[in-house]
């Protein structure tokens, strides 16, 4: 299973890249789990290992504390807790992984939302001794809210409950009972010991009654995010390339609309509509570095050339004719407030959606969600880490899809123009 040594360039399939999130608190052994994944996939190199060995000895620990591998900044080392999202990397030769490591404490809902926003899969850690807790429900709710397509429940510390199949079965039943109510229907469960390495990369010998895949096998076989379901083509224009001043006269009329495909596919000759103008034309060419590509797929950065001379600029969107998004100046969304200064209903904010900005005013707060009980509560303002259903009025229309259908065109951020800070994260309903 060891990874990085078998990294020849040919012969091995490239299954792309998977981004996943680990949710849990320090006590659940989250850092140990990540350390274990890095360690067992042979990603940890000798000098890093020596550094954490020294630190482990200084702290009087027996053996090497793998959790130290993910322990980044001075401030958190002093406090002994993780205070921000950290990103880690490992590869198996067939797939590259990006781990978003988010802290589990209640006050850091915003960090988990941040980490979840780019994740294709969430690992939710449960301490086998404690079972399903309020934080388990919170993590699951947030993973579902952020529309992470795959959820894996890791029942950790099985070594401390004598690897009991009954404990595992009870936790699984408890979890499924509340997950069903949230609308989470596709969950996988793995009993494990991150400390001893059971069922993570290696199966180990202590869980013979579990015949499901190891955590690693799940990661390796999870389908990439854009391959599973039908998607509409969405292309927010980032930048317009007009090299008129070039010495090459062939480029005098060149106009390339540059951006990244947020979802769907496009081929040369496809009929497209440009928003907000609504003008229709066809795709003359799809290019990268001046070379023609037959088609463009989700997450690919390209330049699109159109048949007709249409005025297109940053903030516009190219879609396939007949697959139009909603064009709206009034939006309903779930909003997570990220800033220390509360949401002020009297103020104007800036909303950034794809490559488009618009001034926005809060039109109302329908309710706030208690992330532990999932209860809806009335609210007239929002503080940091609050999650609420809100509506905004916009000065400019946005071209939007429901977040649950398309993260790229369903997500927005809220910016406070007085500080330029990013203060809110929204998911369109």
């Amino acid at each position: 299973m060891s990874a990085i040594e078998k990294l020849p360039l040919e012969d091995i399939p490239d299954n792309g890249l998977l981004r996943f999130l680990t949710c849990g608190s320090v006590d659940d052994g989250k850092s140990t789990l990540i350390g274990r994944l890095l360690f067992d996939s042979k990603t940890i190199l000798a000098d890093t290992l020596h550094a954490i060995q020294r630190t482990s000895e200084k702290r009087g620990l027996e053996g090497v504390d793998l959790s130290l591998l993910t322990d980044g900044l001075q401030a958190e080392r002093e406090q002994g807790i993780t205070i921000d999202v950290a990103y880690r990397y490992f590869t198996t030769g067939t797939r590259k992984y990006i781990i978003a490591d988010a802290p589990g404490h209640e006050q850091y809902t915003r960090n988990m939302v941040t980490a979840a926003s780019t994740a294709d899969l969430a690992i939710i850690l449960i301490d086998a001794r404690k079972g399903v807790l309020a934080q388990t429900r919170r993590h699951s709710y947030l993973a579902h809210l952020l529309a992470i397509p795959q959820i894996v429940v890791a029942v950790n510390k099985m070594d401390l409950v004598d690897y009991s199949p009954e404990v595992f079965a009870r936790i699984k039943a408890d979890y499924l009972a509340f997950a069903g109510k949230l609308g989470i229907d596709d969950v996988r469960f793995v009993p494990m010991s991150a400390l001893l390495g059971d069922m993570i990369v290696e199966r180990g010998e202590r869980l013979p009654w579990h015949d499901g895949p190891t955590l690693f096998e799940i990661l390796e076989t999870t389908p990439a995010i854009h391959s599973a379901h039908a998607e509409k083509f969405r292309f927010p224009v980032q930048y317009v390339c007009r090299p008129q001043d070039s010495s090459n006269p062939a480029l005098h009329d060149y106009r390339g609309f540059m951006g990244r495909v947020e979802s769907g596919e496009l081929a040369i000759g496809d009929a497209v509509t440009v928003l907000p103008s609504g003008l229709e034309t066809r795709v003359r060419d799809i290019q990268m570095l001046g070379e023609s590509l037959p088609h463009a797929v989700a997450e690919q950065s390209v330049a699109i050339l159109l048949d007709d001379e249409i005025d297109v600029s940053r903030g516009d969107m190219i879609v396939k004719t007949g697959e139009l998004p909603r064009v709206s100046k009034q939006i309903d969304a779930m909003l997570c407030w990220l800033a220390e200064a509360p949401l002020d209903p009297r103020r104007k904010y800036l909303i950034r959606h794809t490559t488009r900005d618009s001034k926005a005013m809060l039109a109302g707060i329908a309710f706030r969600v208690d992330v532990n009980s999932m209860q809806h509560q009335p609210a007239d303002r929002l503080a940091m880490n609050d999650i609420a259903r809100v509506s905004f009025k916009l000065a400019q229309p946005i071209f939007a899809d429901p977040y649950a259908e398309s993260r790229g065109t369903g997500a927005f951020i809220v910016i406070d123009e007085s500080s330029n800070n990013t203060v809110g994260a929204g998911m369109l309903l």
């Binding site: 990085i4 040594e5 990294l7 360039l9 490239d14 792309g16 890249l17 190199l45 000798a46 550094a51 630190t55 993910t70 322990d71 980044g72 900044l73 001075q74 080392r77 205070i83 921000d84 999202v85 990103y87 990397y89 590869t91 797939r95 990006i98 939302v113 941040t114 926003s117 780019t118 854009h226 391959s227 039908a230 998607e231 509409k232 083509f233 980032q238 930048y239 390339c241 070039s246 090459n248 390339g256 540059m258 951006g259 990244r260 769907g264 596919e265 570095l289 001046g290 797929v297 997450e299 690919q300 950065s301 940053r314 396939k320 950034r352 490559t355 927005f412 123009e417 990013t422 994260a425």
Partner: protein, 306 residues
């Protein structure tokens, strides 16, 4: 209504990383009024130039290139830097640490002191001189612990300082590059790349590199576990044993604190094979200045280091 197409193509990991980096560079071009791309002639910034070509050709880059020259760079690297900028037909700005020393804004404790940490001063002076609102750099999160939490768009205040507790949340691919006059955004398009990704990309794109990345013979002194090249600024001391070793550099920077590794790898493919089985991290092997304290990078970043 037409039926939506079923996406069946998954990007390879290198295609995905490249596409993300192109997207980030185009966001800088779309959001910032006066950005600059930092280009040292090192392997990471060579990848950045390739990404910039893919992001903006057939147009010109919407930013100049800039190098902060410590005066302690290998000739092979600065020659490569100048040649590459000329080939691309893009403007290269070079600002020199020695000019800051002449102005008195950089004061060295001793003449042979490593100059890496003083680069921040010259960089901040250049940012002010040109009123750059964004600097695009080739730093990666896997390089060092303190970088693991770095944003892709990283905010620096008027003093160029990075405050780990006061960074903007960064969600989805919605980047916030807004800044007030005097403030600055550092942008790291290859944040999510690892050293092996960089080498695989260089191989795939057939990118040219300065010769010192490949195995060559060089006079070396072994000192405190590392290999120290014997050069004009790092002469052998009395009692040193100078050996003529086959070495290559994994990073190129200030001569006084960039050490090579022993290697016979004379091609990118050979370097990838070696990198894949190496047991020492890039900085651990070759950056003599990072090991002083586990937290030293965090300290320098707070002071405005890139």
């Amino acid at each position: 209504m037409s039926t939506a197409a079923l996406s069946s193509v998954t990007l390879s990991h290198l295609d995905w990383l490249e596409s993300e980096a192109i997207h980030i560079m185009r966001e800088v071009a779309g959001q910032c009024s006066n950005p600059v791309l930092l280009f040292s002639g090192g392997k990471d910034s060579i990848c950045m130039l390739r990404i910039a070509e893919k992001a903006f050709r057939p147009g010109r880059f919407p930013f100049p290139l800039m190098h902060i020259d410590t005066g302690h760079n290998y000739r092979e690297v600065t020659d490569f830097r100048d040649r590459r900028a000329a080939e691309l037909g893009e403007r290269l700005i070079v600002r020199s640490l020695e000019d800051s020393m002449a102005r008195g804004t950089v004061v060295l404790k001793s003449a042979d002191e490593p100059r890496n940490k003083h680069q921040s001063v010259t960089l901040l002076e250049a940012i002010e001189e040109f009123a750059f609102d964004a600097c695009i750099g080739g730093a990666r999160r896997d390089e060092e612990k303190a970088r693991a939490k770095e944003r892709i768009f990283s905010f620096r205040d008027e003093f160029g300082q990075w405050d780990p507790k006061n960074q903007r949340p960064e969600l989805w691919d919605l980047y916030n590059a807004r800044s007030f006059k005097g403030e600055n955004i550092r942008v790291f398009p290859i944040s999510n790349w690892t050293e092996i990704d960089v080498w695989q990309y260089i191989e795939r794109e057939q990118l040219a590199l300065p010769s010192i990345y490949f195995a060559h013979r060089r006079p070396i002194v072994r000192r405190s576990g590392g290999l120290l090249p014997v050069t004009g600024v790092t002469p052998a001391r009395a009692g040193d044993t100078v050996e003529n070793l086959m070495v290559r550099f994994r990073t190129v920077g200030d001569i006084t604190c960039t050490a090579p590794v022993e290697s016979d790898a004379d091609s990118v493919a050979a370097i990838i094979a070696e990198t894949a089985i190496t047991t020492i991290t890039e900085r651990g092997a070759t950056r003599l200045d990072d090991q002083t304290s586990e937290a030293s990078m965090e300290q320098r970043k707070k002071e405005g280091y890139f």
